[in-house]
Amino acid sequence: MAVTEAPKIVTSRLQYSDSHTLDRYLATGGYEGLKKALAMTPEAVAHEVDTASLLGRGGAGFPAGRKWAMLRKSPVSYLVINGDESEPATFKDHLLVERDPHQLVEGVLIAAYALQVTQVFIFVRGEFALGLERVQAALNDAYAHGAVGSDIFGSGFSVDVVVHPGAGAYICGEETALLESLEGKRGFPRIKPPFFPAAIGLYGEPTIVNNVETMSNLPWILMNGGAAFAALGEGRSTGTRLFALAGHVNNPGVYELEMVKTTFNDLINAPVLGGGIPHGRELKAFIPGGVSAPWFGPDQIDLPLGQDEVGAAGSMLGSGSIVVMDDHTCAVRASWRITKFFSRESCGQCTPCREGSGWLEKIMERIETGNGREQDLDLLLDACDNIAPGLTWPPQQTTICVLGPSIPSSIGSAIQMFRDEFLVHIKEGGCPYE
């Protein structure tokens, strides 16, 4: 059993039913990290985060400290928090905005101080109605408490935080699409370069975009030091991380685990974590990091939950969501549903993604419903190759953003791992699992 006794960094308050209130937050050490930060210089705060080597928790895993260092010096700059969590089977930020909004607000304020940014936008997914209300209520309380607004805690630093509701579009999780949406436009990702909004972001000004979970780690890092955070985990994957476990497991949920020290096997099967697969069934496959990631089979279950380890094995830890599929799952149906999702959520700017996702979905549907042809498998791979040439990992890109190259992941994995199943669908004219 390798479930370590690492401290709970972002989920420590979830044992309380009133974890979202200011009273509970203050009673459990709330806003102390911010006070400590305000007594330091902004550079020292940024240095502490850099020492922690906190990797961005949104999916790309870019070190937050390095991202901050790229912020172009300018009289006007912005900090935008990405709470548009929409990657299928990812539900960690949902938990954080609903259950511990003050922790998010404190993290945001620490980041704003370190970056000397006076205007912050917290972009929360529109479907989180309760989350939006909780963050707004937390901000109202924080303003009244003197933690936000002008001259916070008498430090001379002033900052304004605005909660911005999204309106339902997966693509707005892409940081440049999020900025477009925040400017009141369609969520179309922007052409790169510039590769980072730190150079040209919101309204053309330098902007840092950080994930909700990344921000929620900051109060602990300030209180305990970056070195204490970096001491957890291994290699580049430091600290703890939220893993969202869903699909065919007895105890689906969000688990905070030390990076690298725990394996997929522990997460799925340990009684205190996933608790195994229901009905005594066997594992067929699992998705290690959101539906954009290639699948793993039972032979890779002993891989550790670390960014580089999963990357080296040919997939990604991505948004930290693990979907478990038991041996009664139809692989064709699962990958068809994922393809349908991408087809629906493609923003429509780039031809390979817009057209490719639609065609792939139609071909997958006809295989699943028993109207497939044997040459469809090659056709699928050919279409995938047009979106991400070579079907390598990490994928080659033909589109403005990475949504396009994410589409072939599930189809490629399903065909590679379960080619026989596709052929049975085609030969028998239907799904054998129905």
Binding site: T41, E43, S86, P88, A89, T90, F91, H94, Q116, G126, E127, F128, A129, L132, E133, Q136, A137, L139, N140, Y143, A144, S150, D151, S155, G156, S158, V162, V163, H164, P165, G166, A167, G168, A169, Y170, S181, L182, G184, K185, R186, Y203, A244, L245, A246, G247, H248, P252, I287, V291, S321, V323, M325, R333, A334, R337, I338, F341, R344, E345, C347
Partner: protein, 238 residues
Amino acid sequence: MSEQARRTPVGPPRRLGTPTPAHLSSDVLERAHQLISLYPEPRSALIPLCHLAQEQDGWLTPEAMADIAGLVGVTPTEVLGTATFYDMLHTEPVGTHVVSICTNIACILNGAAELLEHAESSLGVNAGGTPIDGTITLEEAECLADCDRPPCVQVNHRFVGAQTPESFDQLVAELRAGSRAADIPNHGTLIRVRRTTGLVADPEQVASERADMAEAQAQRAAAAEAAKTASDSAGAKS
């Protein structure tokens, strides 16, 4: 098209919505102006204003879009073009309760397709449809991020937990009877908590705060510089 209209393609400058909002109520307008004041550029308030308009009407009417266009300084077509991009903004009427059933990967592995099929047959409409009484609109949703309670169902973007076909029918009956009104407001009402501070800032106060802040920063920089010089000279001595 009349001859006159065809001959004057350039015509007057483009119309930026209704000059004075005519459709939105005075309460909504007041909140709209507050929202606009929160952003450096008015257009950023476009989506929050669309949510507000939906709160008033239940959906995004052409009249409301014209008003919003006037408020943020774009054309009504730009509001429409933006709104149609987003799943939550409905440019056609919907029921007072939009019931969303997620059928994405975590939910479809746990009976979401069967639940949606049941919902379609019990409500008598396909996903996207509204039964004739206008109380319910059924939606097939993408992942709603409540994957530990599959199949995930939302009513007006409020989570109601995992549903079985039986509990779903009961939920629909409750919604129709209005007995869930306390925790689930009508469609369109998104955020019931209003921002209580920082709505109206005094420009002079802002300017003086900025000046104070710049001074504090300069002092900190000077202190850091002095500390650095001190340590440098200490290093040079040793």
